[in-house]
């Protein structure tokens, strides 16, 4: 963990403290309670044990007519998550300068999009969605710039034109989903979903999923494809045997 004192938000202005004292029914957000607040608010997990919940903080910011207070409340809200956004961006890019720029873009984007947060989900889920989408787009752009391609799969698995009807295609897709769930381990499933579903480059997946093996995500792709091919062949052999028996 980064040193706690390095990321503690002990600079919060008195306006926020006063507002929280008034409206959070005795929360420990008073300025004089800075040290206590540090121990109560877990910045890296985003849970605010001693302070108001994210959604309450956001509601307070929205209802505030004082622009300075509103900004402080929102800053407090986002400061609960900046470490996690930073960590996520670093895992996607693998490089601190790009990750810092990416994290800034995400926080600014989230800040500007707050009006679209309707409170149907937790704030952390909403912020995660923005972080995830922004990082996926960034990693795709990087992949295009670096001309890195996805590993080919069409040579081993059937593609759509081989199926005549839409129903037949859909059935094959459903069967492939079942094969993936039944034959692949959790990491292989994640790697396949990120690489082929999100078109995320292998190096980014390796960092994101913290894969420590020598060839990272690539070996999981190879292993998953081998398992799926074998499972597909077994299934086809069973179908052929059943047809012969009939």
């Amino acid at each position: 963990m980064p040193p706690k004192e390095d990321i503690a938000d002990d600079s919060r202005g008195s306006a926020v403290d006063h507002f929280c004292k008034k409206s959070c029914s005795g929360s420990t957000f008073g300025r004089s309670d800075t040290r206590e607040r540090k121990s109560h608010h877990d910045e890296t997990s985003g849970t605010s044990i001693g302070g108001p919940a994210d959604e309450i903080l956001l509601a307070q910011a929205r209802s505030s007519t004082d622009l300075a207070l509103r900004r402080e409340l929102l800053n407090l809200l986002f400061s609960r998550y900046h470490i996690r956004v930073a960590r996520w961006c670093f895992r996607i890019t693998g490089e601190r300068n790009s990750a810092a720029d990416l994290a800034q873009e995400i926080l600014i984007k989230a800040y500007k999009s707050l009006d679209f947060f309707r409170g149907e989900a937790k704030f952390s889920t909403w912020l995660y969605s923005i972080t995830r989408n922004h990082c996926v787009n960034e990693s795709r752009q990087r992949a295009i710039r670096c001309e890195s391609a996805t590993l080919p799969i069409d040579d081993e698995f059937p593609s759509y034109p081989e199926f005549e009807s839409k129903i037949e295609r859909e059935e094959m897709v459903q069967q492939m989903r079942k094969l993936m769930c039944n034959n692949l381990d959790e990491t292989e499933q994640k790697v396949m979903a990120l690489h082929y579903g999100e078109e995320m480059p292998l190096d980014a997946i390796t960092r994101l999923l913290r894969l420590n093996n020598a060839s990272g995500a690539k070996s999981y792709i190879v292993s998953a494809r081998r398992k799926l091919k074998a499972a597909l062949e077994r299934r086809q052999a069973r179908s052929a045997a059943m047809r012969r028996a009939q």
């Binding site: 963990m1 980064p2 390095d6 990321i7 938000d9 600079s11 919060r12 202005g13 877990d42 890296t44 997990s45 402080e72 800053n75 986002f78 400061s79 900046h82 470490i83 996690r84 930073a86 960590r87 670093f90 601190r96 300068n97 990750a99 810092a100 720029d101 994290a103 800034q104 926080l107 600014i108 989900a121 937790k122 889920t125 995660y128 969605s129 972080t131 795709r140 295009i144 069409d154 059937p158 593609s159 759509y160 295609r169 094959m172 492939m176 989903r177 079942k178 993936m180 769930c181 692949l184 959790e186 499933q189 994640k190 396949m192 979903a193 082929y196 579903g197 078109e199 994101l208 913290r210």
Partner: protein
């Protein structure tokens, strides 16, 4: 498209991430929660999505990440009204972001590139003067052509495709492809926008990414400029 690629894309019955989380976190073992758990057991996309969210929420920075993450977090502090290393609270401005971008190494590289570009510019300027004295052939400069919209994830079908005008362009060659490069639609048009063609409307399926680009041509059909490829898709439908 490969069947395997289709198998890892969101299904029409995939719940939204918000609905997924809300249902999974229900304390009661209700039918809704059971239905979502059944779905998670057969949907690689949703189970991955949920696992990544949990990873995001997890309070853990690996030892090898500590130093870079603390460094990035320090860069983010000023925009959150927190003091930076010098104890100052400074709002992020474009100028400040530029400073953070402008590391000594980058600035050196930038300076070297600027000198090189200037030298080349002077050389070609001199060369052009030498070769076109007395000549009267027209010179067309390539102008940047940008594909403006649609890009990224869309909530609804786009009305049209738009790009900027380029000087000297007689018409524009529009092309749309699958992500694997398969051409889906192409046409030439003199305007700087193209209403969404019927052929494309049929192809727009939620979650399916498509690429498009445009090329400006002069009246003789010679290329003036080509835009970068833009990617867009309809946001996957995830009914609750």
């Amino acid at each position: 498209m490969s069947v395997m690629k289709a198998a890892v894309r969101p299904m029409p019955d995939c719940p939204s991430l918000e609905a997924l989380v809300a249902t999974v976190e229900l304390a009661v073992d209700c039918p809704e929660r059971q239905a979502v758990e059944c779905h998670l057991a057969v949907c690689v996309t949703c189970s991955t999505e949920l696992a990544l969210l949990r990873e995001f929420e997890r309070d853990e920075v690996l030892p090898e990440e500590r130093e870079p993450v603390a460094w990035i977090a320090a860069r983010l502090k000023p925009m959150l009204g927190m003091p930076d290393a010098g104890g100052k609270v400074v709002e992020i401005t474009p100028q400040r972001r530029f400073r953070s971008w402008a590391s000594p190494l980058r600035m050196s590289a930038f300076s070297a590139a600027a000198v090189l570009v200037l030298s080349l510019g002077l050389f070609f300027s001199w060369h052009a003067q030498q070769t076109t004295i007395g000549g009267n052939e027209d010179t067309l400069r390539s102008a940047p052509l940008r594909a403006l919209a649609p890009t990224g994830d869309l909530n609804a079908q786009p009305e049209e495709f738009r790009w900027n005008a380029v000087n000297g362009a007689g018409r524009y060659f529009f092309k749309m492809t699958e992500v694997d490069g398969t051409t889906l639609f192409e046409t030439r048009i003199s305007a700087t926008s193209l209403p969404l063609p019927g052929e494309i409307k049929k192809l727009l399926q939620p979650g399916k990414p498509l690429l498009w680009s445009v090329r400006a041509e002069d009246s003789s059909g010679h290329e003036i400029s080509t835009s970068a490829e833009q990617r867009f898709r309809l946001r996957p439908r995830r009914p609750n």
